[in-house]
Amino acid sequence: MLPNADLFPNLLPTVLVAAGALVTLALEPFLRTNSKHSILPWIAAFFLIAAGASLVLVVPGNIRTIIAMNSVRQALLLALLACGLLGIAGLSTQLAKRRFAGGEAYALLLLSLCGSMLMVQSIDLLALFVGMELSAIPIYALVGMHRRSTEANEGIFKYFVTGSIFGAVFLYGGALWYGATGSTSLFAVALPSRELLQMAGLVLVVFAMLFKAGAAPFHFWVADTYTGASIPVTGFMSSTVKIGAITALATIYAHVNQPAFGNLPLVIIVVAILSLLIGSFTGLAQTRARRMMAFSAVGNAGYLVLALLLPAPSTALPFYLITYALASALVLAGLSALAGVEEQDDDFGSLRGMARANPFLGSVITLALVSLAGLPPVAGFIAKFGVLAGVFASGHIALAALGMVIAVVSAGYYFRLALLLWQDPGEQATKVSGGVLLRVSLLLGAGGLLVLTAFPML
């Protein structure tokens, strides 16, 4: 048996998703515009589900020095696939509504998903970089898909320029890291008297990941890019990119136990506080769903960064990550059916009362919003509870209290949206179907949230 025989099963899910991308891409030219948005999503969904099933074959354990796999990563990969499914389903709804001529978006989305999956699994700087760029580049294309929209142009421009800069920051950090350790492994230890160099490299890599995760003060692209992207793309990027970046961050952060990195927790605390404050208070002022979810992404990045402070064997961070990603993807996938395709269609005014005409979509969105708000009994509460209890236990009582207050503040805007959806619309709200795939994937996602409630991996 080859020494790396278990490499294949561990990469199988990613390979299947990539295969799905290639198959949809190959089929795309042979389909008419109408059938593109009904056939391709199902093919993509098939590959995603196959990838999910192949997770059973995965052999937990560290593989070589590039790709790692354990039960936590398995769960994260499953969550990624679920978010990908929701993204595909939302995308098909929106593109069909627009009668969009091209069907490459599905392949792009799957490729980006591959990148995020690689980020989750990688324990090597180079693999991480490949994953990071693979997840980012298709998203640039997805955000900029609708060329005539000024918002999309603004969003893609900001994301592309800043994303490239932070790609460079990452590479520079990686180079310093390699210089300090003589290795690209994320677990490498500095050569004698080169701890400071490693620290510099680490800080740059951490900043790049914080940028990807949308944590303040690296959040400047978030609001415009989230607003510029079409709603399902926003949902997809808010969930998958965050899973990839935060998992990578958590892997890197394991280094903090070394004495040379003594100040890193302070940086993390500052980032967390800033993200929490900006995410909650700025979010309160938003009147559009995508912008609101953008600030929700910043605020939740704050909780996630806070969870880095927990002692090592804690599963609070991945659990929070999964519940957040799933809930955010659910909200935006549901909204991609409820809202129209024009730029301002996710305005609170035009969403008013939509849940009354569409109780299923409305209920799923409400459930996900309740989870985001961290209100019991939905999984989001358990996740917040786990993180804040851990922060409380590790002695940062003031931070835990801040986290609770922020949860109440940000619940304000989640509730506003939830309530708005159920309010009396004045005139009859339109009934939308959203398609079978969307309904099935929303049902799966909502079911997933409930399963996480009953059996939290805490």
Partner: protein, 507 residues
């Protein structure tokens, strides 16, 4: 798990299943929807009745348990969040099962009393069921996190109900209620975490925490924080003012559930968690809290006199009665605590009767202003009598449950020898006479005298669901008022062990 444990958990699972069951039913088939909901609520009443009887039999056989732990029956204990050792623990002692029985009756009558709601009845009943699932869960939870989760479930449903179906300033009422409740829950959650970490037991199990004597400096801040957190939902002064706005804007079933059971969750939590686990903190803070109670009891009664809107009157009367419950708890005597428990149950029935008859009268007269009504008794005597009985129970007429509870509270609080306590007791007794003023005046203006509005001469007679509601609730009030013995002896088996903790160290 025994069959009783499964039945016990069924009381909160059944409402949720009912909601799922109703989803495929067409909106136009509103009768079927209502029948399914009423049916499931009735099944819950039967389950709760059966379990109450079982608990009664068990506690009669076992007698009063020694030590500080009530005899917990029908326990379910499942791991939930392993990292923090959170467990899903449910079970009932005498106090909890009586609260569950109360809840099931209020939910059932609440559904019947809102039979004719025409606006989005499908969603309304679904939320009412989810709310009841939360309340049932709170009364059976013996793990602090399980408790909190159920506690919040109910707040969410309550918000959506008031914000969607209320009349009048419903957005305002709903938001006020939710902000208050969320503030309260944040305070409760902080204290729960504190209890967990300070105890050093790595457990949220109330039974385990009951054996810990928490350090005084912890209790000094944790007790008031938790107590005030609970006080929000039981509308203690100065957190009372969500209640009148919330009630006035809420549909009948919501008012019945809110005043009947939800406000009791606060006092139940005060007793079961705050006072039980932190008695020393309680003893230090109770003299201050009793000052708030004085405001509750006296001010609420006087404000109720000024109001003309029946729902405002009843809301303030509820605030007053809840004040009496807290007065009983503040007394820190066994009889006071027992009176508080009795009042929780009694007031649940009486306020449900109050709000349901008001809702029924309102649906006929389309006004809740007592000045605009007159002579209703002549056209709908059945509802009039129901209202009067609720009022009499509220002012503590002997023979009805209110008297039993209030008398016990006053005896218990007068037993506490501090001057302040006795002063407040005397004020509270005077507050009860004030209650008589507004109850009798409302009944007099509204029900008697000539029929002021020609429209009132042809009010529709009361329907079958309304009759069932009123008869069932009046039956409960009378049953408790005339035969308080069995409830009282049953409560002893639960309250005696609780008071071992609460009264520890008292001279």
């Amino acid at each position: 798990m025994t069959i009783e444990a499964i039945l016990l958990n069924a009381t909160w699972i059944l409402p949720i299943l009912t909601v799922l069951m109703v989803i495929p039913v067409s909106r136009s088939n509103s009768f079927l929807i209502k029948m399914i909901h009423a049916g499931s609520a009735l099944v819950n009443v039967l389950i709760a009745g059966f379990l109450t009887w079982k608990v009664f039999a068990i506690s009669a056989a076992a007698g009063i348990p020694a030590g500080n732990k009530p005899l917990l029956n029908f326990v379910t204990d499942l791991p939930w969040m392993q990292m923090l050792n959170v467990r899903f623990i449910t079970g009932v002692d005498a106090l909890s099962i009586l609260m569950i029985l109360l809840t099931s009756v209020v939910v059932f009558t609440g559904i019947l009393a809102t039979w004719n709601i025409d606006k989005q009845d499908k969603e309304f009943f679904a939320l009412a069921q989810i709310l009841s699932a939360g309340v049932f869960g709170v009364f059976m939870a013996f793990d602090l996190v399980t408790f909190f989760v159920f506690y919040e479930l109910e707040a969410l449903a309550m918000y959506l109900m008031i914000a969607n179906w209320g009349s009048g300033r419903k957005d305002y009422g709903g938001k006020k209620l939710t902000l208050y409740l969320m503030l309260g829950s944040a305070m409760i959650l902080v204290t729960i975490l504190g209890l967990y970490f300070v105890s050093g037991t790595e457990s949220f199990d109330i039974r385990v925490l009951a054996d810990i004597k928490f350090p005084m400096d912890f209790q000094m801040w944790a007790f008031p924080v938790m107590f005030l957190g609970f006080a929000v939902s039981s509308s203690l002064f100065p957190f009372h003012n969500w209640s009148p706005d919330g009630h006035s804007s809420a549909p009948t079933a919501v008012s019945m559930l809110a005043a009947g059971v939800m406000m009791k969750m606060g006092t139940y939590g005060c007793l079961r968690v705050a006072m039980y686990l932190m008695p020393e903190g309680a003893r230090f803070w109770m003299p201050w809290i009793v000052i708030l109670v004085a405001f509750n009891v006296v001010f609420a009664a006087f404000i109720a006199i000024r109001h003309r809107d029946l729902k405002y009157i009843t809301a303030y009367s509820s605030i007053g009665h809840l004040g009496l419950i807290v007065l009983g708890l503040c007394a820190m005597t066994y009889i006071g605590i027992k009176g508080a428990a009795l009042q929780m149950i009694s007031h649940g029935f009486l306020t449900a009767l109050f709000f349901s008859t008001i809702g029924m009268i309102y649906s006929r007269t389309h006004t809740r202003m007592i000045d605009e009504m007159g002579g209703i008794m002549k056209t709908v005597p059945f509802l009039g009598v129901g209202f009067v009985i609720a009022g009499f129970a509220g002012l503590g007429l002997p023979g009805l449950s209110g008297f039993v509870a209030e008398a016990t509270i006053f005896i218990g609080s007068f037993q506490n020898e501090s001057t302040l306590m006795r002063l407040v007791t005397v004020l509270a007794i005077l507050g009860v006479t004030t209650t008589a003023v507004y109850v009798l005046r409302a009944a007099n203006t509204m029900l008697h005298g000539p029929i002021t509005n020609p429209h009132f001469e042809h009010l529709p007679a009361s329907t079958l669901p309304e009759k069932i509601t009123v008869v069932l609730l009046v039956g409960c009030l009378l049953g408790m008022g005339l035969f308080p013995g069995w409830i009282s002896s049953m409560l002893d088996t639960s309250l005696t062990p609780i008071s071992v903790n609460v009264l520890r160290g008292t001279p």
